[in-house]
């Protein structure tokens, strides 16, 4: 038992709020502790802490307590620490980490007439159980507290760090001498000292630039250059010239994708590969913006905050393309949930903890900002244990002609939205800057916590289009340096930083300039009046920081002193192109023969295999995740992520159609990292095909599809890793040409690796996510995959080969060399057009794409979703039941339309079964299994 006397610093008042009844959060925590291998924790209670600094009276306290505590749900006490449990752990956010509860309490206390200086919040965990010191350390370090954003105290009262608002107080700039004859060695030394993360060609370019300009470099200028030229911002690998192992040099990867889009020349592409998002138009007068981003590393170190701000960032991308955001997507890759705690690398959270944090972070942002989270995928593989991947996408709409406009000289530069703090300063490039000494006490600075309400207000002000401004961009990586630097690219800008509102005092100019504080937008405005009025109406902070000049220089002041003076031509075009080498992969390309299949897989039991596949976490129900996201808001989600008789089946794609519109858009995702490990080129072809299938299956027109590419890869400086990337881009281009579906935007996240205890670097599996956005010409003729009525016929559409490389049948049976990854089916585009026609003609009652687990899994999913039985005819072999060949669908067709379907598709359509009213799936070999049993396997929780 612990009993520590109350230790409140004078004038800091502390309120502990306890739930009055059962707290479901505690059950979750106990389970998480068991996952960490701690079985001796018997009970845990979670309390909320509120700290108030100031001279408050007893009456003030009473008022605050009434505000903070609902007596039916909670109990509360002031200024007590006393512990009745064996251990008490308390935590509070570091100074500088966004704390919206504290912010709101501070504001509303004033409304109630209670004057307080500052507010902070925290948490308290009361633990019972025979815990060793090691147990306690593990619980604190891996479950209860995240040292990146929180301080903690064990068995003693936490002292909170208060954040006070203010403007910058420190100033100053230092000069860095780079002699014109500096050697490569000198330059590398500078590189290391300053943590610039540049390569030697880039360092020489910087040296020569300053030498020819006859100028001495300011430290902030070097930071701005390093930021602008970083892999994250400049996409050096995608822009590199690449020499292959056979000596040929190929065009840069980004140009290959762009050229493909140009060759396709689709009439609905309005803007591709420029600005914040791709822009397309399927209907005259309406444009759609689409974008997908990754937020992998931040999500690994702070799962909630990383995923949270990933969503916020991609929504700002769409807002920064002058579109009103209407829907969000996400694709999440985690380590296997059953991973043993002892198998985790040092410093890595358990996959369940990462999953819980990431999903909560995504739900928190999307639900609060009021956008439906409609489509996505959750994948599990051991390759993601140390490097989880979080892809967040956003789609927006504009109902007036879209004209991208550049700022003009004389336009004011306005920063809108959240306040500036040290957020993100320790990320990436700047990790070892000597400047960090000034921020040593702010270890939370590398992680941002989002504030969705502030961003919602930005949407309220800016989402209605371009009336209020000429040009707009979001503040993302690189902060103002990147945002203003890009907007000023062709003309120049003059900036004064000292007026920007700050989260807390003491920021140096370089910190303000490079801060990655969230929820900020930068706009160029000719006449600020109307924008200022709109900001006042919605309560958005508006700061005029300068103007665009026309002299081609980026000049930044702080309190009148110049802190940056850079030639924008050099900043944006001075980086020498990178040259890289790739060793191309040589994957197995032979499919299996029936004999080889029997040899490899033996005499597998179909029902057992089917149940194993359905319960595999990659295939099993994701309903528990989907219910966490508001997918109903806006009332426009016509084909929902969950469909069918019990609203628990998975849709292939989703359809968004405004309630009274006759048309809509479909969103489909393709991803298969297991294919990527064996054959990156076929993986790319396959996942483009999968994304196409997912939109066609719900009723979209395959001739009106735009694609997004998102690559998460290992270190491309390893020539084999780059070879896989080159092969994947080749596959993307070939698939886009085959479908005449252009890429309009993309993003790459490279270096997703960690150093294992074996001394080797481990990369994530090559993970390419394809998002397809397609036109749905008739909202009334959309289709879902659930079986609808007994007596209907099930038709298999497409060509089945014995393709098991990296298939899920191979995964669940532990077969490692199962031949080639499925090939691209060149007949697919023609077939998809025919299928679209059949769907529009009303010939198809249900349609489901065939992916992981093949025909057997797809049919079981249709039966589960419709809670209908199915009787298969005996014309499919066991191998054909589970093959993952591309380009295939299952259709449910009423008997009256079967002949028409067979006639239209010829050999590519075969009848494989009948829908029955019995709750049973009868398989070709006279085996059968109840729908209930399949459902239980599919809904198993891991």
């Amino acid at each position: 038992m612990v009993d520590v006397a109350v230790q409140t610093v004078p004038a800091i008042h502390r309120l502990t709020v306890r739930p009055a009844g059962d707290d479901p959060r505690c059950t979750v925590l106990l389970q998480d502790a068991i996952d960490l291998g701690i079985t001796t924790l018997h009970s845990v209670q979670i309390h909320d802490l509120v700290f108030v600094r100031g001279d408050v009276t007893e009456q003030d306290r009473q008022q605050l307590q009434e505000l903070l505590v609902d007596p039916l749900l909670q109990e509360a006490s002031w200024n007590t620490f006393q512990a009745t449990t064996q251990h008490v752990v308390e935590s509070a956010l570091h100074s500088g980490v966004t704390d919206s509860v504290a912010h709101e309490l501070h504001r509303v206390a004033a409304r109630l007439g209670v004057t307080i200086e500052a507010v902070a919040t925290g948490k308290r965990f009361e633990l019972n159980g025979a815990l060793t010191h090691t147990d306690l350390d593990i619980l604190v370090g891996k479950l209860l507290v995240n040292p990146v954003i929180e301080n903690c105290a064990i068995d003693t009262a936490i002292i909170p760090a208060f954040a006070d608002s203010g403007t910058s107080t420190t100033s100053g700039v230092s000069y860095v001498s780079i002699p014109s004859d500096a050697s490569d060695e000198d330059l590398q030394k500078l590189n290391l000292q300053r943590g610039l993360a540049m390569d030697i060609e880039e360092l020489r370019a910087v040296r020569d630039h300053y030498a020819s300009a006859g100028a001495v470099a300011r430290d902030i200028e070097l930071e701005s250059i390093a930021q602008t030229w970083s892999e994250h911002c400049a996409h050096k690998t995608f822009r590199a010239s690449i020499t292959l192992d056979d000596g040929t040099t190929i065009p840069s990867l980004i140009n290959q994708l762009r050229d493909t889009t140009e060759i396709i020349d689709a009439p609905y592409v309005v803007s591709s590969f420029v600005g914040n998002a791709g822009i397309i138009s399927f209907v005259p007068g309406t444009t759609i913006a689409l974008k997908c981003e990754t937020h992998n590393h931040p999500s690994a170190i702070e799962p909630f905050g990383g995923a949270n701000t990933g969503v916020g960032g991609v929504i700002r991308d769409v807002l920064g393309a002058s579109h009103l955001p209407i829907a969000c997507t996400n694709i999440l890759c985690f380590g296997t949930p059953t991973t043993q705690a002892s198998d985790l690398p040092e410093g890595v959270f358990h996959p369940r903890r990462i999953r819980a944090g990431v999903i909560a972070g995504i739900a928190d942002y999307g639900n609060k900002i009021g956008l439906p989270t409609v489509a996505g995928a959750v994948l599990y593989d051991d390759g993601y244990i140390a490097n989880p991947l979080v892809y967040a996408g956003c789609i927006g709409v504009a109902y007036r002609p879209y004209h991208a406009q550049d700022p003009k000289p004389g336009d004011r530069i306005i920063v809108l939205g959240g306040r500036t703090g040290r957020d993100g300063l320790r990320g990436a490039t700047f990790s070892s800057m000597t400047m960090d000494a000034t921020t040593g006490d702010v270890s939370g600075a590398s992680v941002q916590i989002g504030d969705p309400i502030t961003e919602k207000l930005l949407i309220d002000v800016l989402g209605r289009g371009q009336d209020l401004f000429r040009s707009i961009t979001d503040c993302g990586a690189g902060g103002l340096s990147s945002a203003i630097g890009e907007m000023a690219q062709d003309i120049g800008a003059c900036v004064e930083l000292s007026e920007l509102p700050l989260k807390y005092p003491g920021l140096a100019p370089w910190e303000i300039w490079l801060s990655e504080a969230q929820e900020r937008m930068v706009v160029a405005v000719q006449d600020t009046g109307a924008l200022k009025d709109a900001c006042e109406r919605f309560g958005v902070e508006f700061t005029d920081v300068g103007f665009f000049t026309g002299d081609g220089r980026l000049v930044v002041h702080h309190g009148g002193n110049v802190v940056v003076d850079l030639d924008l031509e050099f900043l944006h075009n001075g980086r020498p192109q990178r040259h890289m080498h790739a060793v191309m992969p040589s994957p197995v390309r032979e499919s299996m023969t029936p004999t080889q299949f029997s040899t490899k897989f033996g005499n597998i039991d179909v029902v057992d295999s089917l149940k194993r596949l359905l319960s595999h976490p990659n295939i099993a129900s994701k309903a528990a995740v989907i219910h966490r996201y508001d997918h109903e808001i806006r009332g426009a989600t016509l084909v929902r992520p969950l469909i069918g008789a019990c609203a628990d089946g998975h849709a292939d794609g989703v359809v968004i159609a405004e309630p009274l519109d006759t048309h809509g858009i479909a969103i489909g995702i393709g991803v298969n990292p297991w294919f990527g490990v064996l054959d990156a080129e076929r993986m790319a072809l396959s996942v483009v095909d999968e994304a196409m299938r997912n939109v066609v299956a719900v009723g979209a027109d395959p001739d009106s599809v735009a694609l997004l590419d998102n690559f998460s890869w290992g270190d491309p400086r390893r020539s084999s890793t780059l070879g896989d990337l080159v092969a994947a881009v080749q596959g993307c281009c070939d698939a886009a040409l085959a479908f005449q579906a252009p890429f309009v935007s993309g993003k790459d996240s490279l270096n997703n690796e960690y150093l294992g205890s074996d001394g080797e670097r481990h990369s994530v599996p090559p993970t390419l996510v394809i998002t397809a956005i397609a036109h749905v010409p008739d909202a009334e003729s959309t289709v879902t995959p659930d079986l609808k009525a007994s007596g209907n016929v099930v038709v298999l559409l497409g060509n089945t080969s014995l393709e098991f490389g990296a298939s899920h049948l191979a995964i669940v049976h532990g077969v490692t060399d199962a031949g080639a990854v499925p090939a691209f089916d060149a007949s697919a585009p023609r077939r998809y057009r025919l299928l679209h026609r059949a769907i529009r003609d009303g010939l198809v009652r249900a349609c489901h794409d065939i992916a992981e687990g093949g025909v057997a899994v797809a049919l079981a999913e249709m039966a589960i979703a419709g809670r209908m039985g199915v009787e298969m005819s005996s014309n499919l072999s066991v191998a054909q039941l589970f093959s993952e060949s591309n380009g295939r669908f299952l259709l449910e067709v009423s008997p009256a339309h079967v002949d028409t379907i067979i006639e239209q598709f010829g050999d590519e359509a075969i009848v494989i079964g009948l829908v029955t009213s019995e709750q049973e799936m009868r398989l070709p070999n006279n085996q059968s299994v109840s729908i209930q049993e399949l459902c239980s396997a599919w809904q198993e929780i891991s």
Partner: protein, 243 residues
């Protein structure tokens, strides 16, 4: 004929304002959104409204508890005007965060009664469709409904809870306006999804009838299902405002 004016009250973080504006329009009202900022400057805007709506969302990010700060702001800005509206029997509806706000203001269930909306028993935000049975002849928003309503919930704090006296009062006074049928998604006492005040003109409910106002919004429309439009709740309110 002039349409009844419906004022949709919004705070920073209110996010189903557009959905309810659309529903009110379909139901035959002339809806207008008013921000708390604007109410503070001009409280009399409430007086022009025939119907008051507090829309759903995450007002003030749910900081200090769902609906808490919205309640403080509304009380401060237009507390008296809202009391007047109730005494004049102008219909008022609070949906989801709006319900939480009306409970925090003490308007629901009403004087001398104690109720709250706690965390769902699942412990997490939950978005799913539910079926609701209208069960009050007193509530002007539900008294004429002829079929059950089907619409989604989307909340983390929707568990209606109250002390025993309050519950028996609510039941006795016909103030339980809507009950969950077949599934109780959040652990609410007596399956309560919505309650009205003792006058019957103020309704608060957790589910979102504004997201089922056209037939094809029903999640089983692809299976030929068409029933339970949430629009009828708004039509009832509009109809009463016209009387």
């Amino acid at each position: 004929m002039t349409l009844p004016v419906a004022a949709v009250l919004c705070a920073p973080g209110t996010n189903r304002d557009n959905d309810v504006l659309f529903a009110l329009q379909l139901a035959g009202a002339s809806p207008v959104a008013i921000l708390t900022n604007e109410l503070l400057q001009n409280p009399s805007r409430i007086n022009d409204a025939d119907i008051l709506v507090i829309a759903g969302g995450f007002s003030y990010a749910d900081a200090l508890g769902a609906g808490r700060l919205f309640a403080v702001e509304l009380e401060h800005a237009v507390g008296e005007q809202i009391s007047t509206a109730i005494s004049e029997r102008r219909p008022i509806i609070g949906i989801c965060n709006g319900f939480q706000t009306l409970v925090r203001m003490g308007i629901l269930p009403g004087t001398g009664q104690r109720a709250a909306l706690g965390h769902n028993t699942s412990g997490v935000f939950d978005c799913r469709w539910v079926e609701l049975e209208p069960s009050s002849k007193k509530c002007v928003w539900t008294q004429n409904l002829s079929e059950n309503i089907e619409c989604p919930i989307a909340h983390g704090e929707g568990r209606f809870t109250c002390d025993d006296d309050t519950l028996s009062n609510l039941q006795r006074n016909d103030q339980v306006a809507l009950r969950y049928i077949s599934t109780n998604p959040n652990g609410s006492v007596d399956n309560i999804a919505g309650v009205c005040d003792s006058t019957g003109v103020v309704l608060g409910l957790m589910p979102h009838p504004e997201n089922h106002v056209v037939r094809r919004q029903h999640p089983q429309s692809h299976r030929g299902v068409s029933r339970g439009l949430g629009l009828s709740i708004f039509q009832s309110g509009v109809c009463y405002a016209r009387r």
